[in-house]
Symmetry: C2
Subunit: 328 residues, 2 copies
DNA sequence: CCCAGTTATGAAATGCATTTCAAGAAATGC
DNA sequence: GCATTTCTTGAAATGCATTTCATAACTGGG
């Protein structure tokens, strides 16, 4: 910057002001500085800038690749979430620092902030870290979370309406005349638990006698979904006629296992998946599913975090959640 | 840091050295400093560090979310690539800056480097930017690229063996006794073009009379794959009995359209997809596909870039590519 | 007991941009 | 024509950690 200053016959502060469009600097001077800078391909050093400012204009996004990849919950839905976040941050000139935290303790998160590497956090998938996140938030770490909000959450959560998702699935089953419901998912995750609650709500409010059962998946591995289906069919005598799974991929695994056992969708069994992945539409039979507007959610997460960093306290929000009826 | 120095009764340089495990500092002193730092939750300011060092220990990863999301080529495969990159960078203590470049000109890329925001680039999907990337590389920008290498590429490319992928598909079709091949994909992408070349190679070296046709997809939109299939079947009288598509999702769309037209897989038509997404296995019928070890590729990309930054010139590499035979 | 050689530590300079504060120049008011 | 604003601009301080260079303390050899 000193060089540019010399070449443009001004001082460093003037260059700095010219480059940041500070109105204090005379227009003619600004243009001269700008042209000299462009000519010499000069760009301000962002690290020096970040060091000087209080803001780093960088947002850390925490994504648990390890469990996602190993368990292959690789519905495009995580990807869309990230895309929404990325674009919204780009629009606000924020850098996106992608973190795959190894530690699940609050201090690891806080450290990124104390290192001044970022101004705040977007947590994609709270998993079982609610307690830790609550600690972080209580300690003043600016953060927003994708997922389902605990009733007493002290941080901002953006998620779909999981209870409604469960309801929609249940009502769909009722309309199809189904009476033997099966819920598939790991309810230790709040999102999944709420979907199950929504489904049960429909059952409880129905005047029909409905049988309900669970397949409590310990992990999200998609192989395990198929295994679980096979095992379930092996052990149980009555075959359910309505299966609501935590993801489209799991639904496909169940449909496949049920078919092998002689129970065909949609004649013998109805299935509702979650996320409306592209393949759901071309699956055979085309899969009924719950769609969440994840891209919008990503944008919303970014917007809310920026407001939090600016000192506001935006409220948690719920994104659109709808049933896509196909053939199952 | 000055505060810690005062509290530990030493000077700033000593604190700095103690924190960076510099052997110059006495062990007792180091421990004292470390404990004081830990006690007060002190962490070095990374921006100041980056400013001082030549290295930023940050790698920019360029991912074209816009086209990926809009076109929904959201096979988990991009995600796995990113996961591999993220983990490998984490292992080497590198930060990952995620960029969604709006501009396709070399200067936009270079600017991130001149701003000292990153030490180098990982480009996930070169698309139609080969020329620009060649300019970047020629200008000395450290970069590695996921994709297919041009014969005269002046930069390091990691990709699967697309020619082999095409060959494997072709040989599979021959083994099934198929004679009317259809290739589906946008060959303006080098990766896709090479797969087609591999397929044609099999045809040319076969002693059978094989018919070959193309569906040249203008875009990767998965809806368009289904539309293209419908249109193709509408216009053409003879129905192919072997279809090789650029992705599993596209294969599923084609299978669906073919089924509607009365051509059933695998009896009437064979299909080979690409990527081996989780759903391929539970699709009906289970989809034969080409698997690329994308996670490994991600790790390799990261490792090679770090070597380039260190002044070496690693060669382009090809990752494992294999045929997964299921029912189609 | 003195000199050379280690070892440990600190003062000051450095990297780069921004901000405060002061001052010079120009414009306005009376 | 002089006082007062209003614009512009620059010198110096600042943010934080690292590196160089110098100095102090200590060790061992003769």
């Amino acid at each position: 910057m000193a060089d540019i200053a010399r070449l443009a016959n001004v001082s460093k502060p003037t260059v700095s002001r010219a480059l940041s469009n500070n109105p204090l600097v005379n227009e003619k001077t600004r243009n001269r500085v700008l042209s000299v800078a462009a000519e010499h391909g000069y760009a301000v050093n962002r690290n020096a800038q970040k060091l000087r400012h209080k803001r780093t204009n960088t947002i850390a996004v925490s994504m648990d690749f390890r469990s996602h990849r190993q368990n292959r919950i690789s519905d495009p839905f995580m990807f869309e979430l990230l895309a929404g976040v990325s674009e919204a941050l780009g629009d606000h000139n924020q850098d996106l620092l992608l973190c795959a935290p190894n530690h699940n303790d609050a201090s690891a998160f806080r450290q990124i902030l104390t290192e001044r590497g970022a101004d705040g956090f977007i947590i994609l998938g709270q998993g079982h870290r609610e307690k830790m996140l609550a600690d972080c938030a209580a300690a003043g770490t600016p953060l927003v979370v994708w997922g389902a909000a605990a009733p007493d959450a002290n941080y901002c959560v953006v998620g779909s309406d999981n209870f409604l998702g469960g309801q929609l699935a249940g009502e769909h089953f009722i309309r199809q005349g189904r009476r033997r419901f099966l819920f598939v998912g790991d309810t230790s995750f709040r999102e999944i638990h709420e979907r199950r609650q929504g489904l049960k709500h429909v059952i409880n409010n129905s005047d029909q006698a409905i049988v309900f059962d669970d397949v409590e998946l310990q992990s999200f591995r998609y192989e395990s979904a198929h295994d679980a289906a096979v095992r379930y069919l092996d052990v149980n005598e009555t075959i359910p006629d309505a299966v609501f799974t935590w993801s489209d991929t799991a639904a496909m695994a169940f449909i496949s296992a049920f078919r092998d056992a002689g129970a065909h969708a949609p004649d013998d069994v109805s299935f509702v998946g979650y996320n409306d992945i592209p393949e759901a539409r071309y699956f055979y039979p085309p899969l009924t599913t719950i769609r969440q507007d994840t891209y919008q959610a990503g944008r919303m997460l970014a917007a809310k975090l920026l407001r939090i960093i600016d000192g506001e306290s935006p409220k948690s929000a719920t994104i659109r959640t709808e049933l896509i009826v196909r053939s199952t």
